[in-house]
């Protein structure tokens, strides 16, 4: 029973978020923030796979988000709407209700393939050098999109709002709220499964000692490839959701600034801590909204918090530990087959 309590809590939260949005009890602003929380959970936990669990430093996560955002947006707009870019719709707009998650997965798949741009150099390079490569990938993606004029270039791309409206005309439920949170939970589930399998623990071994990992039987190349592809694929799906929440994207949304936000969330929550990533995504998203009245000064306060965090709590809120390790009492309610590491 205990091991289902977390699932139960998630289901309850999901029902509440969707139900309240549907009933109109949540303002559209609160709904927007709630959906951004989900997207940020996907961003931070997928980046944590690389920066926390594998111990690499990837600082171009927004690049993969951009790939997913553009691929899914282009496909949905092409398929389901009539517009100047792609002409009349290919498929009835109503089909979007069923096809949307598959298009999202496809966008994630393409983002995962772009992830290979980082994965393959990572065979030979690590640390600072790999960080520069990830940065370069971020810029490559952004500049490439800026220079493809048919899809709007730097002006951006829109039309996703009509796709979502089309879905709502079929059944009037908060579609985006539903999909963002389903995919956020899916992300958490997949990462949890990955890092608790012997297969996925190989990447933790890479962080701890790469040479020992390779010699003790871990196929480090394959492990890195899988980890980078999983991480960038999930970021791509986060991007696809982000695009459909806003209805408008431009390359400027996926700059190094966005990557930095993801980094901040990972470091705030604690490297190699999945519950930390979720917690920090929630805190960080809400914090940005609370600080909104400060306008530009927000970008003084937020980095300042990061500086203080690095000075006084380098390991983040929950470094390398899960919530149940920090508060053992939670174990009574949220069972986990993993045991706590007793310190000597």
């Amino acid at each position: 029973m205990k091991q289902y309590s977390l699932t139960l809590l998630a289901a309850l939260f999901f029902a509440l978020a969707v139900g309240l949005s549907w009933a109109g009890a949540l303002s559209s602003y609160s709904q927007l923030v709630l959906m951004f929380v989900a997207v940020n959970i996907m961003m931070s936990s997928s980046l944590n796979l690389i920066n926390g669990y594998m111990g690499e430093f990837s600082c171009g996560h927004a690049g993969f988000m951009a790939v997913g955002a553009y691929i899914t947006s282009l496909l949905t707009v092409w398929f389901f709407t009539t517009g100047s870019v792609f002409g009349p719709n290919l498929l009835p707009p109503a089909w979007a209700t069923v096809l949307f998650p598959f298009i999202l997965l496809f966008g994630g798949l393409i983002a995962a393939l772009v992830g290979l741009l980082v994965a393959i150099p990572s065979f030979r390079t690590r640390g600072d050098y790999l960080a520069i490569i990830t940065l370069a990938v971020n810029y490559i993606v952004k500049s490439a999109i800026e220079n493809i004029q048919p899809i709007g270039g730097a002006r951006g791309f829109m039309g996703m709002g009509r796709v979502v409206n089309g879905m709502q005309e079929v059944v009037d439920i908060p579609w985006m709220m539903i999909w963002t949170w389903i995919f956020a939970f899916l992300t958490i589930l997949l990462i949890k499964r990955f890092v608790s399998s012997t297969y996925g623990k190989g990447i933790i071994a890479i962080r701890e000692d790469e040479i020992a990992a390779e010699i003790m039987g871990v196929n480090t190349r394959r492990a890195k490839m899988i980890a980078f592809m999983l991480s960038s694929g999930l970021a791509g799906m986060a991007g696809g959701l982000f695009a459909h929440i806003l209805g408008y994207i431009n390359p400027g949304s996926f700059t190094i600034m966005k990557s930095t936000e993801a980094l901040v969330m990972v470091y705030l929550g604690g490297m190699g801590s999945l519950s930390g990533s979720v917690l920090s995504a929630v805190l960080f998203t809400l914090m940005l909204e609370v600080l909104r009245p400060l306008q530009l000064y927000k970008w003084v306060v937020v980095p300042l918090i990061l500086v203080l965090l690095m000075l006084f709590r380098t390991e983040g809120l929950l470094g390398h530990r899960e919530l149940t390790d920090v508060f053992p009492r939670l174990k009574r309610f949220f069972g986990s087959r993993e045991k706590v590491h007793a310190a000597v």
Partner: protein
């Protein structure tokens, strides 16, 4: 066919000849030592065998199969496991996880099995868990399974490292200075342990060692290396009386 064979192994680091025409044959079941002064090329030979470096010349074969061009994890899958001069456990992982991850050398499931937690995944993981616990039990480490590897005392860390190597069910076990940093009592225990695992797991063991007490006590044959060249080989008694070996370690007397 010999179990393990090295022929004409030569390796250059740039212009430096680190290993020169090294030869060795194991029929199976030997316990052989590799000694030599610091920088003689002992660890380099181990790294060449494991696939960390690829030799400039020469070949390494296990069970008649050439290891040329294989990645270290592939060499491991062929049945060669090793420990390291400076302990290389994964410090922030539990002892049990250290042992579990070593099972990656032949995993019977793939990425998608792990994502969907298929039947194949669950049976494989259960098997791995059971085997890991067995190895800990055999090595007397049962009580430390949930401990982080870095929290164990030095002697036990060595033991975990050996346990991790044994998981691979190696035909050949390479031990790189297993007694480094141990006190006298721990060394005695180590000698006993190595003898015991050799019998228990039916191993061929090849070890690098500086501590003469351990080498002379343990090994049936010894090969001595100096500046990458084999200067002597034989039983411990023969090596002890060999003038070139004494010279390599202590230097020549000036007439």
């Amino acid at each position: 066919m010999p179990l393990f064979e090295i022929r004409g192994l030569t390796h250059f680091f740039g212009g430096l000849k680190a290993v020169s025409d090294f030869n060795l044959t194991f029929e199976g079941g030997e316990l052989t030592g590799l000694i030599g002064p610091n920088g003689a090329g002992k660890t380099t030979i181990f790294n060449l065998v494991c696939g960390v470096y690829h030799p400039t010349h020469g070949e390494v074969k296990i069970g008649g199969q050439n290891l040329a061009g294989l990645f270290p994890h592939q060499v491991t899958a062929m049945g060669i496991a090793r420990t390291f001069q400076n302990i290389r456990l994964w410090p922030e992982m539990t002892v049990l996880d250290n042992i579990r991850v070593a099972h990656n050398y032949k995993l019977s499931y793939g990425f998608l099995d792990a994502m969907f937690q298929t039947f194949r995944y669950r049976t494989a993981e259960n098997g791995i868990d059971q085997k890991a616990r067995e190895v800990l039990e055999i090595m007397g480490l049962r009580d430390y399974g949930e401990e982080l590897a870095k929290n164990l005392p030095y002697g036990l860390q060595r033991k975990v490292e050996i346990a991790r190597a044994l998981v691979i069910r190696p035909k050949l076990l390479l031990l790189d200075e297993p007694s480094a940093g141990m006190n006298l009592g721990e060394k005695e225990a180590l000698i006993g342990l190595i003898r015991w695992i050799r019998k228990e797991f039916n191993l061929t063991i090849w070890l690098i060692e500086h501590e003469m007490r351990v080498v002379m006590n343990l090994c049936e044959k010894i090969q001595v290396l100096d500046f990458g060249e084999t200067i002597a080989r034989g039983t411990p008694e023969e090596i002890q009386g060999n003038l070139r070996v004494v010279e390599a370690y202590l230097g020549k007397e000036i007439d």
